[in-house]
Amino acid sequence: MPSPAPVGIDELQEALARHAYIADRPLAVAIFLALQLRKPLLLEGEAGVGKTQVAKVLASLLNTRLIRLQCYEGLDITTAVYEWNYPRQMLALRAAEVAGESKEQALRDIFGPEYLLKRPLLQAIENSGDRPPVLLVDELDRADDEFEAFLLEVLSDFQITIPEIGTLHAEEPPTVILTSNRTREIHDALKRRCLYHWIDYPSAEKEAQIVRTRLPGIDEQLTRQIVVFVQDLRTRDLYKLPGVAETLDWAEALIALGVRSLQQEVVDETLGVILKYQDDVQQVRALVPSILEQLRS
């Protein structure tokens, strides 16, 4: 039988906590494996459960650079990978012409690395620091199939081919975190390259811990009330349930307003911080008294 592993998931979980990220065991295992197997980790979950935060925290934990690629429809190679610096190329050509230099030489020169604009994916592959960076491909579901196909190529070999220069390999593959809000299904071929984890809404206990960690010094009673309130909302029939991000925003707002304990009036005034649809606000407004009632009992 194997010897018990001393360096491992527990240590990772603690390290994450030191960086103000409270990860439950399943998430810690997923991150741990992504690091050990050097595979991309696809995180799915509702908006505001801390998917993007994982990448940010990992970068600071591994003491390396975070390279972020925000996805959108129509994202293409020129914004995701590289682009030639055309104005500079043209100027160089003209300058060579004026100086009477050989045009052939100038034409060769302008497709050199100094005329290359490196976009996030290329930066991540061609790492300049001494540690491989953390690459965050954020909200992948917003990109289109074409980009997904392209990403697939990059993530399977960690290499990028630029016709004018050649193929660039990553010496050490970057740590890759992909996130998706699931506005559409990510293609299976891409998923197969990745480890997968679904981040759920946290339990009340964990959520309170998150609030305390992120907003040190917050009143304990207020924390408890906020968390119970938000957790209650998540059991309701709302179009958009509040995420942890909303909980934190709300807590911060309440602190800024000098609130020490939830009251009907202040809840009504600040509902817009946690609910983003008017229908939901109206529905909840009617429920506030009964939820507050529960809080006190």
Partner: protein, 409 residues
């Protein structure tokens, strides 16, 4: 000091062959249960185990889960399979556990459930079996008659012919311009990269300006089809229609509803339509029951809208509007549906009859939020629909600003 080094490797523990065999068997079980598992994943699990102490049973399970499961829906299947498979004794030895003979609560995939072909099936050649379906050759004039005949008034033979004609129809939705650019002569944007590369041939002189333009892509289509009792005479034909659409349009999502909403997109992918329909019949529980359109639309909005209404989707809501639910809820949810779709088309079979007037409470509540209100009672109306879809335009239709709180978003 806060650094954490993932590469602090330990020597790989030597697991016995037994564990590997069991992992492979477990992977096979998952695959049989419908999870897309390939050999590369089993390899990944092996690799993962080098970094994980399997003494901590929970970690072992989580590691397998992280590698094997790629969709949230599969999580419960994994959990059940796990409990079943490893329950037989953690420390191994019991080879009987390899055989998933006790999986009762798990839903087995169709190919495992289907009874083996009988002798009669085997003897009949494929072609003949196909011909067994009603074969009607139609003259031109009988086709004309059939085209304008209400589905509800068709005889069984005519219906069979109608269904064959529907199956041959192909639908095209007018494409939308995406945000992605591609080389295109006379495009709207100059392709500087190609221009510069071409100029190399002419010694750095830019002679021609190649252009780019936005790529075209078909819009996604979402069909919500009422299969409640009042729609009985139409629903089967309309499912044929949905099947034909799903076969010809790239991104289609199909849902049916009576009192509750069921997604049948995957079921419609089967190659044989009759088999697809019978599996729908088994899956859908409220076949020919009452209708609560509002609840169905609400379920759609809450559970599916965000996932299938992206990229300028066109929505077809097929219903006769006989609704036993709350009209206010229906209005509210139709408003939401309209806001989230590029075009919302209500197809009503009753609209084919000349004296029909949309007076039921359901229709009254929903109509203000519908972009088009069209008939769907005969082949002719389906062709008209096809034409409408192929010329759906580049913009959302002008929509009235509705007063009232539901519209204030």
């Amino acid at each position: 000091m806060d650094e954490w080094n993932p590469q602090a490797n330990r020597p790989p523990p030597a697991y016995g062959g037994l564990l590997i065999d069991r992992l492979i068997a477990f992977g096979r079980l998952l695959r049989d249960l419908g999870l897309p598992i390939g050999p590369d994943q089993t390899l990944d699990v092996m690799r993962a185990l080098r970094h994980i102490s399997i003494d901590r049973r929970e970690d072992f399970k989580l590691a397998c889960r992280t590698v094997y499961v790629r969709r949230r829906e599969d999580l419960p299947i994994f959990e059940q399979a796990w409990d079943y498979f490893w329950a037989a004794g953690w420390h191994g030895g019991d080879q009987r556990a390899l055989l998933p003979h006790r999986v009762r609560t798990l839903k087995l995939p169709a190919r495992l459930r289907r009874p083996p072909p009988t002798d009669a099936d085997r003897q009949m050649p494929e072609q003949e079996r196909k011909d067994q379906r009603v074969e009607i050759r139609l003259s031109y004039s009988s086709q004309e008659v059939l085209r304008s005949k209400d589905f509800a008034e068709c005889t069984a033979d005519e219906l069979a012919a109608v269904q064959r004609l529907i199956a041959d129809m192909r639908y095209v939705i007018q494409p939308r311009r995406t945000r992605r650019h591609a080389p295109q002569p006379h495009g709207r944007k100059i392709d500087i990269r190609r221009a510069l590369r071409r100029s190399l041939r002419t010694g750095g002189e830019v002679v021609s300006l190649p252009t780019l333009d936005r790529k075209q892509r078909q819009r996604p289509l979402v069909i919500l089809c009422d299969i409640s009792g009042s729609m009985e005479r139409y629903s089967r034909v309309l499912l044929y229609f949905a099947y034909a659409v799903a076969a010809s349009v790239e991104h289609v999502e199909v849902f049916v509803f009576g009192t509750r909403l069921t997604r049948i997109t995957r079921l419609l992918r089967q190659r044989d339509i009759d088999e697809a329909l019978s599996s729908i019949g088994r899956t859908v529980q409220d076949w020919t029951g009452g209708t609560r359109i509002g609840d169905a639309v609400k379920t759609f909005n809450f559970r599916w809208g965000r996932r299938v209404l992206g990229r300028g989707a066109v929505v077809l809501l097929i219903s006769d509007g006989w609704d036993r639910g709350d009209p206010e809820l229906l209005a509210h949810e139709m408003a939401r549906l309209q806001r989230n779709s590029f075009r919302l088309i209500w197809l009503n079979p009753l609209l084919g009859s000349p004296d029909y007037q949309p007076l039921t409470r359901g229709i009254q509540a929903a109509l203000p939020y519908v972009d088009d209100f069209l008939p769907v009672h005969n082949l002719h109306s389906l062709e008209q629909l096809g034409k409408a879809l192929s010329a759906i335009g580049d913009r959302r239709p002008e929509r009235r600003q509705h007063s009232g709180h539901s519209m204030s978003v």
